[in-house]
């Protein structure tokens, strides 16, 4: 299985632990990730806020480069990238004016967008292409006794997600169960973490982060499993500020790929677990 890999800016920056753990885990499962040559920022939400056509052009450049370099789908691990690239695809499929404008812009770089490569999230690849059974077979150190709250974030399932429920997705639940962990019933699975508002409007943004941490704590979770660099950053980085405002809710947040790596018996240092602010001690102790 070979995919074009679109890591996105976060996986090269604050979320590099996601990139570090995703690569060996995928390798172990026989998934080849070929990084798209000279990829650029997906545009995220900020770009959509300024210029619709430009935002589509940004996404289209990445897809066009991937398409020109061979067949295969694109894997985008960051929820924001996943959404932005899918939004681009939907826009270009349904809106001929934007498509024409974007093609014209791509021509500047001698690129053409065809829309043949689908944009997919690692979660979908893991559950539907690799399969739960294969994941299960690779588990050598089950995450026994760990109670984990699966947190999907908002931009994976909404509004375009085709592989899971928009309100109650279960792909990650299934993986966690396969890893031997106990999945906490977590109704805030897809509630927004606050996104960039934690920095720009902390009062509002941090409250959202706090609600998620608090609910996970109330439900007795040891860990929160995430699949998005921004979610992980928000849930991991503001414990002191949150404690000052609303009281402590100290639950570590780790990437699903880090959990898989631990369960697969990959060396801890390869998985970027040391990059957490709040160390996932229970995880390290359990395995």
């Amino acid at each position: 299985m070979r995919y074009h890999y679109f890591p996105g800016c976060s996986l090269k920056g604050l979320g590099r632990a996601y990139d570090e753990s995703l690569r060996p885990v995928m390798e172990r499962l026989g998934v080849e990730l070929a990084e798209i040559d000279d990829w650029n920022c997906c545009g995220a939400t900020a770009y959509m806020s300024t210029d619709h056509c430009n935002a589509c052009a940004l996404g289209a450049r990445n897809i066009a480069i991937a398409e020109s370099s061979g067949p295969g789908d694109i894997v985008a691990p960051c929820n924001a990238c996943y959404l932005a690239l899918n939004k681009t695809r939907n826009c270009l499929a349904g809106d001929s004016a934007t498509r024409a404008a974007v093609q014209k812009a791509l021509a500047v770089a001698k690129l053409t967008y065809t829309g043949t490569a689908a944009v997919r999230h690692p979660l979908e690849v893991l559950v539907y292409d690799v399969g739960i059974n294969v994941i299960k077979r690779n588990v050598v150190r089950p995450l026994k006794d760990l109670k984990i709250a699966p947190y999907y974030g908002c931009q994976l399932v909404r509004p375009h997600c085709s592989f899971d429920d928009q309100w109650n997705p279960t792909a990650m639940d299934r993986i966690l169960t396969a890893l031997g962990a106990r999945v906490v019933d977590f109704p805030l699975k897809t509630r927004c973490c606050g996104g960039s508002l934690t920095g720009t409007a902390p009062e509002a943004g941090l409250r959202l982060t706090h609600i998620i941490l608090g609910e996970a704590q109330r439900r007795g979770a040891d860990l929160i499993a995430t699949i998005c660099p921004l979610c992980q950053f928000n849930l991991d980085s503001y414990h002191d500020q949150i404690a000052r405002r609303w009281g402590p809710a100290r639950i570590p947040a780790v990437y699903i790929t880090q959990l898989m790596g631990m369960a697969f018996g990959l060396p801890t240092e390869q998985l970027g677990l040391k990059r957490n602010f709040l160390p996932a001690d229970k995880l390290l102790a359990a395995t």
Partner: protein, 663 residues
């Protein structure tokens, strides 16, 4: 065009108020028609279907000695009959008439006046060319079998059956469930009068059972319908009940004696909130008052290894017959009333409301059973924890007015919820809040009922609830179900902690509505409701003559409306029967004997076996009484020796020529 010099056509174009004339230049159309061959009179008029409009035609026929008439107005499916009558009133054969549809097919679908007018002119040209070839025809009259089939034994079916039976007609009432009564039997009280549902329904159910003119077949389904108006042959599948309902007296001794000492299977009548045994009576007021055995649960029927204590208990009444087999019965009826009802929206389709996840989130129908004195708790409202509720919320429009699920308004949920809100308030004193988008209380006495709810202290919050969760953000929310909703009138978002959330689930078409539609040759709307012939003028008729619809199978409605419609459907059936016969469109096919080569290719094509072969003359023969006028044989005759009245080849060719007339 005809060579017949004596063709004298009258042409009339209708403005239909402004409906047509706003888009089509009617005067130009009339002027154009006046230039066409054979046209003696060409008029435009505001309302051709009105009495003066029809009178115009009649007068002109007499005055101008017209022998053909063409009217350009609405769809022939709507007013062809009207104008044929007008033509007949002028003393002309009604089939020397042709109608042009310039409303539905032109004025209502185009905006460009010039293009619409040109199209109207071409269509008019086609009709004027065609009508010249029309021949005088005689409608045939088919007899009507006086018996009526009513499908569905809910309140609509019951009412229709009783109305017909009281008029002296024989009625077959077929119901799929083991008892008649439908959804209404599950209700505690009915709005807006709050009278007890059982008290008003049970007498009608017993009347059905005892009526000498009604044959009641419960636990039965319509399997097949053949024939046509006045003459339907219906096959009914009577499922094996394993109890002879004529011998069973409803004493329940068999149920007591069943080897299952305690009931352990979910009882569908109480929506699984109580249990039943493999042998059961659906509910206390069931009609017929006879037991039924579930073959999937009865040990004897599943394995053949049971002590058969039920048979023992029944003793010499001998009502239990474990060898009973499914039966297929064939009946003859002249008309059919379809009253197959609705199904409730599955609240699990909206996961944000937590139905199926939180035990104290329930649907209106479940609450209805819980507050009913014959329900699983004897009418006592308790949370799953056993405590009485102190704060109850109703969420309206669950699966209604929502493009993600069902886009229609289910029409009854506002009133239904207010009724339950009043009952809950009365019984428990709990704080009750109704979350609504718009309160729809348009029936007689309904607005007063809304007012009464307000007077009784029911709170109303205008806003569509976004989510129900058990995530507590403050101590007062702990252990409660929290609703998140914008109070759109106050203009802010609220979190409302409740201990019972009731979802007012909407109505949707029965799961097998499409199958039923095929069996009865009806149409469905895009949503899946059975389609009436005309939404205003023929609300209980269908496109299939002799098949009528009543109640919620046509669209959501409350009890009064269902009963009114059932009465109307019964009256339509009665009118049909008492007319003694029905005029049939004389669009039958016929063989031009001299031209038939006797190749027999038409014979196998006829779905009605109307064509036979005269071995002596070596020619095909069409029986006009059996021909339904589809014209399939006409199109396939290699020697062109089959003609079809009203749709002759030449008439169609003229029409093709005409529609290609571009002015």
């Amino acid at each position: 065009m005809s060579n017949d010099e004596s063709i004298r056509t009258g042409f009339y174009v209708c403005h239909c108020g402004h409906n047509i004339s706003d888009v089509v230049d009617c005067t130009a159309v009339a002027r154009y028609a006046s230039t066409l061959a054979g046209v003696m009179v060409s008029r435009d008029y505001k309302y051709m279907c009105s009495s003066p409009g029809q009178e115009l035609i009649r007068q002109d026929i007499l005055e101008h000695k017209l022998n053909r008439v063409v009217v350009a107005s609405c769809s022939p499916l709507l007013h062809e009959h009207t104008f044929r009558n007008a033509v007949a009133a002028g003393g002309l054969n009604p089939f020397l008439f042709q109608m042009v549809n310039i409303r539905e097919h032109d004025a209502w679908v185009h905006a460009d006046r010039a293009a619409a007018t040109a199209k109207a002119q071409a269509l008019v040209s086609a009709a004027i060319r065609r009508v010249a070839l029309h021949k005088p025809l005689q409608a045939t009259r088919a007899p009507i079998h006086p018996d009526v089939l009513v499908v569905g034994g809910g309140i609509a079916g019951i009412h229709a059956a009783l109305t017909l039976a009281n008029a002296g007609k024989k009625v077959y009432l077929v119901e799929r469930q083991p008892s008649i009564g439908g959804h209404m039997a599950q209700f505690d009280k009915t709005f807006p009068t709050l009278d007890c549902a059982a008290c008003i329904l049970t007498p009608k159910m017993s009347a059905v059972r005892s009526h000498k003119n009604i044959v009641l077949w419960t636990y039965s389904e319509v399997a097949k319908v053949d024939g046509y108006v006045g003459n339907y042959t219906v096959t009914v599948r009577r499922k094996a009940r394993y109890v002879d309902e004529n011998l069973c007296v409803g004493c329940q001794e068999c149920i007591d004696a069943c080897v299952f000492k305690v009931p352990k299977f979910p009882d569908p009548f109480n929506l699984g909130m109580s249990m039943q045994k493999p042998i059961y009576i659906p509910f206390p007021q069931a009609v017929p008052q006879a037991a039924v055995i579930d073959p999937d649960r009865c040990i004897q029927l599943k394995t053949g290894k049971c002590k058969k204590t039920c048979v023992e208990a029944c003793a010499d009444r001998k009502a239990i017959n474990l060898n009973q087999k499914e039966q297929l019965l064939e009946i003859k009826v002249g008309s059919i009333i379809t009253a197959t009802g609705f199904k409730l929206f599955d609240a699990k389709r909206l996961p944000e409301y937590g139905y199926g996840r939180y035990p104290d989130v329930m649907t209106t129908i479940e609450l209805e059973r819980l507050v009913s004195s014959s329900g699983p708790t004897g009418g006592e409202l308790r949370l799953r924890s056993g405590k009485p509720p102190t704060a109850v919320g109703f969420i309206l429009c669950v699966g209604s007015r929502d493009m993600r699920t069902n886009r229609w308004c289910s029409r009854t949920c506002c009133m239904h919820s207010m009724k339950l809100a009043q009952i809950v308030r009365e019984r428990t004193g709990a704080q009750v809040t109704v979350f609504y988008i718009d309160i729809r209380a348009p029936g007689k006495g309904y607005e007063e009922f809304y007012d009464r709810s307000l007077q009784q202290g029911v709170q109303f919050v205008r806003g569509r609830v976004a989510e129900v969760s058990d995530c507590a953000l403050s101590p007062d929310e702990a252990g409660k179900l929290v609703i998140r909703v914008e109070d759109t009138l106050a203009g802010f978002v609220r979190r409302v902690p409740l201990d019972l959330v009731v979802l007012a689930v909407g109505m949707e078409p029965q799961a097998d509505a499409q199958e039923m539609r095929r069996i009865l040759n009806m149409s469905c709307s895009a949503e899946g409701w059975f389609l009436e012939k005309h939404p205003k003028m023929a609300p209980v008729s269908t496109f299939t003559d002799g098949v009528f619809i009543a109640g919620c199978c046509q669209g959501p409605k409350d009890i009064p409306d269902s009963i009114a419609q059932a009465g109307a459907a019964a009256a339509e059936a009665l009118a049909l029967i008492d007319a003694g016969g029905i005029d049939q469109e004389p669009n039958t096919a016929y063989i031009r004997g001299e031209e038939c080569s006797g190749c027999k290719s038409c014979i196998s094509l006829c779905p009605y076996a109307a064509i036979s072969f005269d071995a002596e003359k070596q020619k095909a023969v069409i029986n006009p009484a059996l021909c339904k006028g589809c014209g399939t044989c006409v199109a396939s005759c290699p020697s062109g020796s089959i003609g079809q009245n009203l749709f002759e080849d030449q008439e169609v060719f003229e029409e093709i020529n005409g529609v290609l007339d571009y002015v």
